[in-house]
């Protein structure tokens, strides 16, 4: 454990080399002490992240600064009153837009944070899936009548990915499907929800990226919102995402 324990924090910061990441990954799966250590460190990281977002500027100060740095073209004195009125209106709009965007961002963060919780809790569970099968034709029908939508899963034969099974899940009270895939020794979660139920105005990621130490990719297609996340590297996450996208459009 000692060889690895010094690296765990750097591992969770996503700053080890790809080879080292893989080695630590593999070790954490087989060493209970390190796994417990990782869990503790992730919890503290997330708690600090949340506790650290503590202060926000007042709308007045934001408007004041916006005005201060806004580029101001010279206008004739006659038009000044008009410009002033426009500036006030624009500031009002800007501050409304900023508030709106801020709240959308907070909603997105909240959704990601809940999904990370779902993923981590599932991985830690003794019974991570309710339907255990590597066969997509078994897993998909299991969801019938349990969730208000259907989906298409990709054929994975010949790839490194294996379907482990699935379970029902909820995000912000919206029912969804949670599938577990494995690639080498990593577990990947695929979440599917009806896009209209998911707050935060998510866009489509062009590729996977690291969020809160997990690689994540999200997109929407045919009214469904997909999230693929796990501790696998971003390339694996992206490949699985691409296969799901291809299956959905076939």
């Amino acid at each position: 454990m000692d060889n690895y324990s010094a690296k765990l924090a750097t591992y969770l910061d996503g700053e080890l080399s790809a080879d080292e990441m893989k080695a630590v990954d593999a070790h954490v799966r087989s060493c209970n002490a390190c796994a417990a250590d990782v869990l503790g460190q992730v919890q503290l990281k997330r708690a600090v992240q949340s506790a650290g977002k503590r202060y926000s500027p007042s709308p007045e100060f934001r408007a004041h600064m916006q005005q201060k740095i806004a580029s101001r073209p010279k206008t004739s004195p006659v038009r000044n009153w008009l410009t002033a009125a426009t500036v006030v209106a624009m500031l009002l709009v800007a501050s409304m837009v900023a508030t709106y965007l801020g709240s959308r961002r907070a909603e997105r963060e909240q959704a990601f944070s809940e999904l990370v919780d779902l993923h981590v809790a599932t991985m830690a569970s003794a019974n991570p899936v309710d339907v255990i099968s590597t066969d997509r034709h078994t897993v998909k029908p299991w969801f019938q009548g349990k969730i208000p939508f259907t989906f298409t899963l990709p054929e994975l034969q010949g790839s490194e990915f294996t379907l482990a099974g699935g379970r029902m899940t909820y995000l912000g009270q919206a029912p969804g499907a949670h599938l577990i895939y494995s690639v080498r020794k990593h577990q990947i979660s695929v979440f599917m929800f009806q896009d209209r139920d998911i707050k935060g105005g998510f866009g489509d990621d062009p590729g996977a990226r690291t969020r809160r130490s997990f690689a994540v990719e999200t997109w929407a297609r045919d009214g469904l919102r997909y999230f693929v996340m796990g501790d696998a590297n971003v390339a694996d996450i992206h490949e699985l995402a691409s296969r799901l996208k291809a299956a959905g459009s076939s």
Partner: protein
Amino acid sequence: MDVSKEPPTGELFEELAMPLFGQLFNFAQWLTHDPSEAEDLVQETYVKALKGFSSFQPGTNFRAWIYRILRNTFLTSRTGLRATATVPLDEEDRLEIPASTGTPESLFIDHAQEQLLQGAMEELPLRFREILLLCEVEEMSYQEISETLSIPIGTVMSRLSRARKALREILQRKVGA
């Protein structure tokens, strides 16, 4: 290409700087512990950054650049000088062996404990507080932190490790108390 259509410097600055406004304010108040001092600090940072914007190289990291200005402005302020006056001189680059991760973390699953954690973060010495915020809250890479704080990456790693250890110790004390 019509050069006259390129956005003027002021507009480009606004485009880069305003999205960071909320985060910079949060960081500023964590440094100053005071909302009006944080406003002054953010205002001075934006004024300095706008003035010095011509020295910013497009394509380099704007976020690290403006955080560095904010931090340097803070360090030369009265509060900043007071905060740094008490920093003990010790060997920074010695890699810290992580403290055994006993139980305090598990107590923080519940966000209701947030205030206790915030109190512990307030107690951290400035250099630990700032690096923890840059890493965990701003989710900066070690490279970005290194640029922001003007320290080598090895020091980023050792300081982060010490900061986390110090935070755990404060938590342990608070929880035990």
